[in-house]
């Protein structure tokens, strides 16, 4: 009985246990699209965060001298203005950086609201049988709402009021983020509910319940950590759809106020001039598309990397 194990197995047994997140990262690295998406998104983020220091031009600056201003309008790309200038002579590069900040901030905050709401409703519906029926009915009702028309109506109706309360920038931001958040939580609620329903029947939950763990701690300590992977995937894809929705609203002229750039707003302004200056629409459009594409690829890779059945193969 003193057979020696093969050297490889001993080696594997002696190696320190690996961190779960390192495994996830190793699997994530094998997905080429996800890796490219991750680096593109990281580059965009760095550009937007560091942009104002590297390119310290005020995106709202309009030349006060009228003659100079007229001469500065609608310039093509040059050394002084790498992305050209707009119809009021404002620097497009600075506006793109400022716009990206708002667009991505909207995406992140709206995603946070929608995922929090979705997780809460999903966990409640999955864990408490009494709440399951009513909550899922509400979810179905929300799925049957015409979302884009309702979003447009909400923005149009409440924009003035909120702008009066919190100022035009913050008011619109809160309104848009909130509106996108409460119209996009349904998918994550459904996914989380399904996962919770399955988890609830597992032995470790039964064990935890049999030693008298109250529901609150059971949910927070045992169930939530186990539904983290689908939530993370839903969150990643949520950023992408929130960015698209915000730019769609801005593109229809129902987003942020005119002097407050976002990528969608820049595209909307550029459309009027696209016959003469096509670069004005291609810049912001490309930025939106690249961000959404890279975020979608990250979500794709994350889905594979977080699935223990695929990981390690």
């Amino acid at each position: 009985m003193t057979d020696t194990l093969p050297a490889a197995q001993v080696d594997a047994a002696l190696r320190p246990p690996r961190n779960q997140w390192r495994d996830v990262w190793d699997q994530f690295k094998t997905h080429k699209g996800a890796l490219v998406g991750f680096s593109v998104f990281a580059t965009l983020l760095v550009a937007i965060v560091l942009g104002p220091w590297l390119w310290p031009v005020d995106p709202k600056f309009i030349e006060p001298n009228a003659v100079k201003m007229l001469r500065l309008r609608n310039q093509g790309p040059s050394l002084g203005y790498p992305f050209g200038t707009d119809q009021l002579g404002r620097d497009m590069l600075a506006r793109m950086i400022a716009g990206g900040k708002v667009s991505i901030a909207v995406g992140l905050v709206a995603m946070a609201i929608s995922v929090t709401l979705g997780t809460m409703i999903g966990v409640l519906a999955g864990y408490f049988k009494r709440l399951d029926g009513p909550l899922m009915r509400v979810t179905d009702l929300f799925l049957a709402l015409p979302l884009l028309p309702l979003l447009l109506v909400m923005v149009m109706l409440f924009r003035e009021t909120l702008a009066g309360l919190m100022g035009p920038e913050l008011g619109t931001f809160v309104l848009i983020v909130f509106a996108i958040g409460i119209t996009s939580w349904m998918q994550s609620a459904r996914i989380v509910r399904g996962e919770v329903l399955a988890l609830k029947e597992r032995e470790f939950v039964l064990a935890a319940r049999s030693i008298g763990t109250p529901p609150r701690r059971l949910i927070l300590r045992h169930i939530l950590p186990n539904v983290m992977s689908p939530i993370m995937v839903a969150a990643t894809l949520g950023i992408a759809s929130a960015i698209i929705t915000e730019s769609a609203l801005s593109f229809l002229g129902l987003g942020f106020p005119p002097d407050f750039p976002t990528w969608g707003r820049l595209l909307f302004e550029g459309v009027e001039y696209m016959q003469q200056f096509p670069s004005r629409v291609i810049g912001p459009g490309l930025a939106i598309s690249l961000t959404v594409l890279s975020v979608n690829y990250i979500g794709d890779g994350l889905r594979d990397a977080l699935d223990p059945r695929i990981r390690g193969r």
Binding site: P146, L147, L157, I244, G285, L293
Partner: protein, 335 residues
Amino acid sequence: MLTFTIRRLMLAIPTLFFISLIIFLLLDLAPGDPMSQVPLTVPPEVKAKMREALGADQPMVVRYVLWLKQFFVVEPQHILDNLLGTHLAGGSQRILSWQSRSPVADTIAERLPQTLTVIGSSYLIGVLIALPIGILSAYRQYSWFDQLGTFIAMIGFSVPTFFTGVLLIVIFSVNLHWFPSIYDTTLKVTDWASFGRQVRQMAMPVAVLSLYNAAQISRYMRSSMLDNLTQDYVRTARAKGLTERVVVLKHVLRNSLIPVVTVIALGIPTIFAGAIITEQVFKVNGLGALLINAIYANDIPMVQTLTFIFAVLIVLFNLVADIVYGMLDPRIRYD
């Protein structure tokens, strides 16, 4: 099957009422005045009279019930009268637009054909492109065709339609002058020349929307085919000596189409929402443009009616998808 259908129908009715209440309350509680477009020089007592004539001074419950009655009873009666020449409706009050003071339904009927031609043909083309792509990329999984298809599908649903539309305009109408950038709704198709012009002006909006639709449907088709290709009955069919063509196109395709058909039905109402943006890009004078204009003009009856029509479409096609699924796949009927 009948019980299943009836139960689905019964579920759809409270959903519709609830949605109508949400839409009504959202528009009703929001600040906004039907008189905001009326010049300030009009004296207040005249404004009060105008408000009364529009029914805007009644309590909320009365207005909600009245609106429901108008939407579900009066308007269908008027539509029937127009179609058949009867006099069911008599002189009953219709839903009037605050913008034009004319019945909402008439304006919608004017705009509907444009939206339907553009959206209908783009959805049809999208489905027709998506199905073969999905089948082929599942059959040759991980081939270059599959990889390319996956990449294009990813681009198709990542790049927003307002950017693909603008990009197409820049390339094909600004630089190449192939297609007009603005959709001309007054164009009447009478001969081959005008038909050619109609096709040319529809080319770009249809291309944008069908790329977006095809991207999603081809993915569903692919995964559904992949699920079925590994089933035992496929091996049996091959073992019987059936040709590969019969195995894939008859046995596998029929079974894989079941979930895809419901996805196609569920997608129909969402493309109306997508059309709001595309219509704005190409200046198509359809329902989406009507909605945007009504929102800008604070025309609440028009916005309510249009939004509710979109909601009815969603509920209707959910119902259709459910029933079709029940018909195609007896396992899920549980009646």
